[in-house]
Symmetry: C2
Subunit: 247 residues, 2 copies
């Protein structure tokens, strides 16, 4: 019972941090970066952080913890599998739209694509996520896949799921940092540079910190053994990606 209360407190924190991430990234780009458009202008670029943070971090993290909600344990697993896959598909669609936003903006403005370390890590993360979704759909949702194949693939699916969230956070933090150096150069008409920490810098830095906090809460929920959906044979071949014997 204590474990369930602790779960729901942590899950509530996860939901709140996720909502704060979405609100903050939208507020940053709407209030300080001029809002949104789909016309190749700077406003076109502004969809990139909004879609990536909402898709690759918030929706992705929420999809990852679906199986942990004790309320769902008494039911058939299939609807929750569909919810898991559906949320991740939405997350993937947003991520692809987020990539379209930045590619379109670069192409319209004759800026090269995929040169920064942020872009290298980010594109690899999205590619891994796509492969993970296709593999997950094929193995865990197509009824023709034998149970033996599911059991064989599951540890890799579980491990890769956590790693993709970590890589998404790496991409988001490097991207927000890069954008602030680009945008906040300071000039003669009174705009303050990043180093003077104007309100926009505080807002976007805080967004970065909250993305990290959200990621840590999701990883904490995923890591706690007593919050795992009880299943026959569950413990076979389960990996513990971050655990080490530090005693």
């Amino acid at each position: 019972m204590r474990g369930i209360v602790a779960f729901y407190v942590t899950y509530l924190l996860c939901l709140i941090l996720g909502i704060v991430c979405v609100v903050l990234v939208a507020h940053w780009n709407y209030t300080y970066r001029g809002g949104f458009a789909w016309d190749g202008s700077a406003k076109h670029f502004n969809w990139h952080p909004v879609f990536m943070v909402t898709g690759m971090v918030v929706l992705y993290g929420n999809a990852a913890v679906v199986y942990r909600i004790p309320l769902t344990w008494g039911h058939n697993k299939l609807p929750w599998k569909l919810l898991h896959a559906g949320l991740l598909l939405l997350s993937l669609i947003l991520s692809v739209l987020g990539l379209c936003a930045v590619f379109d903006f670069h192409n319209k403005n004759h800026t090269p694509n995929l040169y920064s370390l942020h872009s290298w890590v980010g594109i690899c993360t999205t590619a891994l996520f796509t492969a993970q979704w296709v593999m997950g759909f094929t193995v865990f949702l197509l009824p023709c896949t034998p149970m033996a194949a599911r059991a064989f693939i599951k540890p890799a699916h579980v491990w890769m799921g956590g790693i993709i969230l970590v890589l998404s956070i790496v991409s988001c933090i490097s991207g927000i940092n890069e954008k602030l150096f680009f945008a906040l150069k300071g000039n003669t008409n009174g705009t303050l540079p990043y180093s003077a920490l104007p309100p926009e810098a505080i807002t976007a830095n805080s967004l970065g910190v909250i993305i990290v906090a959200f990621g840590l809460v999701v990883l904490k929920i995923l890591s706690n053994q007593i919050w795992q959906r009880p299943e026959p044979g569950y413990d076979e071949g389960v990996y513990r990606p971050l655990a080490y014997d530090g005693s």
Copy 2:
């Protein structure tokens, strides 16, 4: 036996990637950034990436996997605890020197400290690492600490250990990305901008990719249950920070 061979192959990969990280970060700063000094110049700053990557990533990662080496399992644990703590102390000292390098450089050049998102995440990572080392030393090395306290703290120590490595990688990638935008602006004397991917950009971007690969290999070693040091009562309260039920 197959598990042990697989471990040593993965461990060899970990060692090779770690060495490549140190060589690449030194090569980048020596060849492209003008080398090293401790005089407040740009060469003073160059110690920052070298010390942070060597300390917070490579030494830290190697210290984390010490208990996984099967060769050590037949022996008393204390020498390996001392090696674990010693490597992490060296890692912490290098990290503090790396912070001194950037603070000294900023102060000498009247640049504000701790304004970027990279610096916010980085300073929190070093603070967490310091707290983790002090807590680890107090709980697991001081002989007066009761076994019950060790068993109680261990899951948090294990979890935090993995999380600090993730945060170190987030800090390194955002820092390398930021430095390349600062350094590679391109100018009239023929220097190419970051967007043209000159050799320095390829070198430092590759360093970033190899840091991520090193981190993933370390997390993989830490996560694999069959590579854990066999210990009585080991499984009690162990956390699995990245695992989730994605079946």
